[in-house]
Amino acid sequence: MSFVEIFQIWLIAFFTLALFSFLYKDNAFYKLAEHVFAGLSAGYYVGLTWNSVIIQQMYDPMIINGKWYLFIPGLLGLMMFSRFFKGFHWISRFSLAFVMGNTAGIFLISELHGKVLPQVQGTMVSINPSQGFGPTLLSLIIIVGVVSTLIYFYFSKEHKGLLGGVARTGIWFIMISFGAHFGYTVMARVSLLIGRVQFLIDDWLGSFSQIFS
């Protein structure tokens, strides 16, 4: 290992341990790591946006490919800066409206087409008992689960009587699902910790022998 490599490993190890130290309590090391991290990541987005958006998506197509009409989003972007001038900040609403309206348009159709239709379709499963006990039970669980969850979100009536009963079934289903999800997620989180621990043990502790030999 070269000196530079060892330096890099120690740097990573320092910031790793500094962030972990927050688990014990808030302290100066964590504060340092937190502020450096925040600064770098803000800077990272500057570089990223500059290179992959302003240059690649606007400047290059405009100058090289002659897509002159890209000045329109550019203008909308510049209008955002009206926020810096008192009395003119309403101009930035035009740009916000453009972006929000765009989002709304995409989501209006994509939520209905890409989510509601296929999920509703997928729930129409056969409950014919001739397919055997297991599949029928599964189909029933799915149909009752989806319907009762949807009913739980019904806003127009108090959850009383029949509606209340179904909604209560819904909340039971929701709790089972959330428990399952929580239990399922533990593994993912521990995996990440294993990754860090492996780094600290293999690379960082490993570098000690390099230093002392």
Binding site: L23, Q119, Y184, T185, M187, A188, S191, I194, G195, V197
Partner: protein, 299 residues
């Protein structure tokens, strides 16, 4: 050896019990943190291995890939950030080994600006070197382009319109592999490895609109949501988290990092379950005999 294992397990249980006791005694959640750290570090030092079954979703994905004709073209995505490498990298590696082993041609890409291109470059090159594969003929790395919705849609029309060059700036027309790959029609299977919602766009845009089968490896946290899509047939097989990766490593008979990590998993899971059981036991005792001043609740 067995003797030392028994000693090791007793030690594990003893330390866990002491830390749990301290948690209740002091009402301080930091003892739990300490226990978790201990249970993760221990197996990294001493390896323990236990057998397990393979989940059907993993088998489905494995079989879908296995059923591809040799030398088909597969798109492999690296839609994950460096932060989830521990879970996702073993999946990418297992997929690469499996696909290279079948002489498939692999097109890789990423929708992740932060680190995505460098991760895909590093992982594919390492695995390709191990399998003796050549860049440009056997695999191509397209890299990253902003705005994934537009990228995913655009590639249905023409990959070249979205990626005029590969990750290193070589024109696609100069890469032999890409000459026969215009759009999704020329891709037989899409293997998405993702740690975020992009995987749903691969289904709702690419699978739904172009019909190319999509299989995926996702982090454990996303897996339950994606189950819904395996059930509805929009997704062909699923690797969920480290266990999914370990299962896949076993299926391709190349056990590696994920298989090893599973013993640390076992210990932490067991500890959490024990702590919940003990916590409830004490909760019921307190409720029966009235609160007795232990700080269990604030922990």
């Amino acid at each position: 050896m067995t003797f030392w294992l028994i000693i090791a397990y007793s030690l594990l249980i003893l330390i866990g019990a002491v830390l749990l006791y301290m948690t209740f005694r002091k009402g301080d959640r930091r003892y739990i943190y300490l226990a978790v750290a201990f249970y993760v570090i221990f197996p990294v030092v001493i390896t323990l291995d236990l057998p397990a079954d393979i989940s059907p979703e993993v088998l489905q994905l494995y079989e879908a890939v296995e059923a591809l004709p040799d030398s088909s073209t597969v798109m492999l995505t690296f839609d994950y950030y460096a932060s989830t490498l521990a879970e996702t990298e073993p999946m990418s590696r297992a997929a690469l080994r499996h696909l290279f082993g079948k002489d498939c041609r692999i097109v890789t890409m990423t929708t992740i600006p932060l680190g995505g291109p460098s991760i895909s470059e590093r992982v594919t090159r390492e695995e390709a070197a191990a399998c003796g594969k050549v860049y440009g003929d056997d695999f191509v790395n397209l890299g990253y382009k902003a705005n994934y919705v537009a990228v995913l849609k655009g590639m249905g029309n023409s990959i070249e319109s979205i990626y005029p060059t590969d990750n290193t700036g070589t024109l696609l027309s100069e890469l032999p592999l890409m000459r026969n790959v215009q759009n999704y029609d020329d891709i037989d299977f899409i293997f998405v490895v993702a740690d975020n919602g992009v995987v749903e766009y691969w289904m709702s845009i690419v699978n739904a609109q172009y019909g190319t089968p999509v299989g995926s490896g996702v982090t454990a946290v996303m897996a339950p949501k994606i189950y819904a899509y395996v059930g509805s047939g929009q997704m062909t097989g699923l690797l969920g988290g480290m266990k999914g990766a370990a299962d896949y490593e076993k299926l391709i008979k190349r056990p590696d990092f994920a298989v090893k990590g599973m013993s640390a998993q076992s210990l932490v899971h067991m500890f959490i379950i024990c702590s919940v059981i003990v916590g409830n036991f004490i909760y019921f005792r307190e409720r029966k005999y009235g609160r007795t001043g232990s700080g269990g609740k604030s922990a």
